[in-house]
Amino acid sequence: MDTQELNNIKREEAAKKSARKGKRLMWLSRTPSYVFVGIWSLFTVFVILWVGLSSLKSNMQIFKEPWMLPTELHFENFVKAWSVMRFSNYFLNSTLVVLISVVLILVVSAPASYVLSRLKFRGRTLISMIYTAGMGIPYPLLFIPLFVIMASLKLIDNLVGLTIVYVSLSIPFTVYILTGFFSSLPSELEEAAIIDGCKDYQVFTKIMLPLASPGLITAAIFNFIGLWNEYQLALVFINSDENRTISLGLYSLANSMQYTGDWAGLFAGIVIIMVPTIILYIFLSEKMIAGITMGASK
C-alpha cells in the first residue's frame, strides 16, 4: 500500500467518522453558530425596521415611545419630505448623477486596471502606486484647490461638474478593486486568444472584459452605494436647490433640526434615501459577493 492509498483510506474513514459524529452533534455544534449570527442579523434587521417605523410616527411619539409601534401611521411625514422638502427633486438628481458616474467610472477604470494588472511595461509599478496613493488622501484637502479648478472650468453648482468630481475621485478605489480581478484571471486565456489571431485590444474587449464582469458589477455596486450616500463633496460643489443630491438634502435637513425640530420628517428622509440601496442590495448582493470572491483571491 503506498501512501496515496493509505491516505485515501484514512480520508474515507475520517469522512465516515465525521459524518456519524456530525449527525449526532450537528444541532449541538451548530447551535452557537445559529445563536451568534442569528442575534447579529436580527439586530441589523431590527435597526432597519426601527428606522422605518420611526418614520411613520409623530414627532412626539418618536421621543416619548421610541421602542413602541406607531400608534397611528403618519404617512404625511413622507409627503412632507417628498414634496415640501423637495426630496423628489433631489432623488432624481442623485439617480442621474450616481448612475452616470458609476458607468463612467467603470468605462475609464476598467481599461486602466487591465493594463496595470496584465501588461508589462516600464513604469507600471510606479503608476500603480500613484493610483493606490489616492486612496489615502482625505477629501477635505481637495475642497479648496479642486473648487478653484472646477470654478475655472465653470463647473460649479452643476451636476456635470459633480459627476466629473465623483468619477475622478472614485478611480483609485475602483482601479484597486479591478486590478485584483484582472490579475486573478488565468493567463492562458490571453495567450490562446493571441494565437487565435486576436488583436491586443480585442483580448481586452472580447476576453478579459466579459470574464471580469463579476468584478465590474462589484465595483459598480460599491461605487453606487458610496456615491449615493456621499454628501461632503456635494456640499462643496452644489449650491442651488435644483441641483441638490438626496444625501445633501438629508444632510441639510439634519442640520436644520435646531430650528425646525422635525425629527419625523428626518426619519422619512432617511427611509427615502435608504430604499434604493437596500433594494439594489437585496437583488444584487449575491452577485456582488460573488464578485468579491473572485477578486479577493488574486
Partner: protein, 440 residues
C-alpha cells in the same frame, strides 16, 4: 476595438460638450429693455424649505415687486454658508451679500475685512417711521458685533438666551414670581425638586449650550469682558481671579444639589432637551429657538415661560443683561450695489416685514416694537428691556474660536459633568491657556 474607441471618444466628447454648454446655463437673464437690470447674488445660511428661507423669499418677492429693476438671486446654502463662501471667493464667484450667525461672521468674513461698512447707510431714515434705521433695532443688537466704530452687520433675527421653562410645572411647584437673584433662583430649584420634577434639562457634553451658565455667572458677578480678557491673557494668570472659581463652584453646586438628573452626563443632543419637551424636566438654558424646535414634540399647548438668568447679589452684572444670539446680513466689500442691497435691508426692517418673519419662522427679530410669537413672548420682553446686550460666550467664540475649541471646551466639559473640581478647572485653565498662547 470599435466599441472601445467609441467608449473612450464618448467620455472625452461628453466631458467636452458638457463643459462647453455650461456657461450658457449660468448666464443671467437678459436685462429688461431700456432699464439696466441689477442682479444681486445673495448666499444664505438657510436651507430652501426652512420657514426662515420661505419668509426671506417673501421679502425678496415683495422687494422685487417694488423695485422692478432689481433681482435678488438667493442661493440657499444651509448652515455652512460662510465656509462655502470661502471656497466660492477663492474660485472667483461673485456674491453681493450673505447671512450667517453674527458670531461666525465676526470671526470670519468680518475679521478678514471682507465686509462693507454700513455706518453711513445706518443714518438713513427708516421706511416706515420717522427715526434713523439705526434706531429701529432693539437695544444693543446693532452695536453688539461692530468692529471698533465700524458696523458691518445688519442683524435681522434675535435669539435670546434664557431659561426656557415649562410653565405648568412652575405653577404646580408653586413658583409664582420669576427669580431675580441667584438665591431666589436656588429657592425656586428647590421648590421644583420638592414637587418631584427634574429641575434642569441639559446635554452631557454640549459645550455650546452648557457654557452659557458659566458666561452668565461671570458676567453677573464681574460684568462683561472679564471672561474674554481671561481667554486672551497669554500668561493664563487671569484665570486665578476668584470669579472663575466661584462661577465654577456655583455650577458644581447645582449638580451636587441634584438639580440635574444623573443621566444628564450621557445625554447626546437632542436627548437632554427632549426631557423638557416630554415634561420630565422643568427648564433649559438655551437660545430662544428652543420653544419652536421642541414644538413638535412638546405640543402646541405647552406653556412656555422664559426666565431671565438671575443676578448675583453684589455683582456688577444685572438680571437685564441679556445674551443675544443674532443672525445678520452682511454686504460683501467688493459689490457694486451696496446701496441697492441696503435698500433691501431697510425694507426687511419695517415693522410689517419683521413681523411677518417673526410669525412665519416663529423666531425673535431685531426690530423694536414687533410682537414675537406667543411662545416667545418672554423673549420679546427680555430683548425689549435689555439694559445691555451680551455676546454669546462673552465674544470668545468670535475672537478666539480655536482657543475655545481646543482649551476651553474640553476643560469646561469635564467641569460640567463634575469629573474635575472647580479648583482643578481653574488651575487647568491657567496652565493650558498659557501653553496655548505660547504656541499661537
Amino acid at each position: 476595438m470599435k466599441r472601445l474607441r467609441m467608449l473612450i471618444l464618448l467620455v472625452i466628447a461628453l466631458s467636452l460638450t458638457l463643459a462647453a454648454c455650461q456657461p450658457a446655463a449660468e448666464e443671467p437673464e437678459a436685462p429688461a429693455a431700456g432699464e439696466e437690470q441689477i442682479v444681486l447674488e445673495y448666499w444664505s445660511m438657510w436651507n430652501p424649505s426652512e420657514p426662515a428661507a420661505l419668509a426671506i423669499q417673501k421679502w425678496i418677492d415683495a422687494f422685487e415687486a417694488e423695485n422692478p429693476n432689481i433681482t435678488i438671486n438667493a442661493t440657499w446654502n444651509g448652515r455652512e454658508n460662510q465656509t462655502k463662501l470661502r471656497s466660492a471667493l477663492a474660485g472667483g464667484t461673485k456674491v453681493d451679500f450673505m447671512d450667517q450667525d453674527a458670531d461666525q461672521i465676526t470671526g470670519g468674513l468680518q475679521k478678514e475685512g471682507m465686509g462693507y461698512p454700513l455706518n453711513e447707510f445706518l443714518t438713513q431714515q427708516a421706511l416706515d417711521e420717522d427715526i434713523s434705521i439705526a434706531d429701529t433695532f432693539t437695544p444693543g443688537t446693532l452695536e453688539l458685533h461692530k468692529d471698533g466704530d465700524t458696523y458691518y452687520q445688519f442683524p435681522y433675527m434675535n435669539n435670546t438666551w434664557q431659561f426656557w421653562a415649562n410653565g405648568d410645572i412652575l405653577a404646580e411647584a408653586g413658583v409664582t414670581a420669576h427669580p431675580q437673584t441667584w438665591d431666589e433662583f436656588l429657592a425656586m430649584a428647590e421648590q421644583i425638586k420638592d414637587a418631584g420634577y427634574n429641575v434642569f434639562a441639559a446635554e452631557g457634553n454640549e459645550f455650546s449650550y452648557n457654557f452659557a451658565y458659566f458666561t452668565y455667572l461671570v458676567e453677573r458677578m464681574e460684568g462683561p469682558g472679564v471672561l474674554l480678557a481671561a481667554a486672551a491673557d497669554k500668561t493664563g494668570e487671569s484665570w486665578n481671579d476668584p470669579v472663575f472659581l466661584k462661577s465654577a463652584q456655583m455650577i458644581t453646586d447645582l449638580w451636587d444639589a441634584g438639580y440635574f438628573p444623573p443621566e444628564t452626563v450621557g445625554y447626546v443632543w437632542p436627548a437632554g432637551q427632549m426631557t423638557l419637551a416630554t415634561g420630565d424636566a422643568t427648564m433649559e438654558l438655551c437660545g430662544s429657538w428652543l420653544p419652536n424646535e421642541l414644538r413638535g414634540t412638546a405640543g402646541e399647548d405647552f406653556n412656555w415661560v422664559g426666565l431671565k438668568f438671575p443676578g448675583v447679589e453684589g455683582g456688577k452684572g444685572d438680571v437685564d443683561h441679556l445674551t443675544e444670539w443674532l443672525i445678520s446680513f452682511m454686504i460683501m466689500k467688493d459689490t457694486e450695489y451696496a446701496e441697492e442691497i441696503f435698500e433691501f435691508f431697510k425694507f426687511t426692517q419695517t415693522k410689517e416685514n419683521a413681523q411677518m418673519m417673526a410669525i412665519d419662522a416663529i423666531i425673535g427679530v431685531t426690530r423694536k416694537g414687533v410682537t414675537w410669537p406667543e411662545l416667545l413672548k418672554d423673549g420679546e420682553e427680555a430683548a425689549a428691556n435689555a439694559k445691555l446686550a451680551l455676546k454669546p460666550y462673552d465674544g470668545i467664540q468670535a475672537l478666539y474660536p480655536e482657543y475655545q475649541e481646543i482649551v476651553l471646551a474640553p476643560a469646561f466639559n469635564d467641569l460640567w459633568v463634575t469629573t474635575i473640581t472647580p479648583e482643578e478647572f481653574v488651575e487647568r485653565m491657567a496652565t493650558e491657556s498659557k501653553a496655548f498662547w505660547d504656541t499661537h
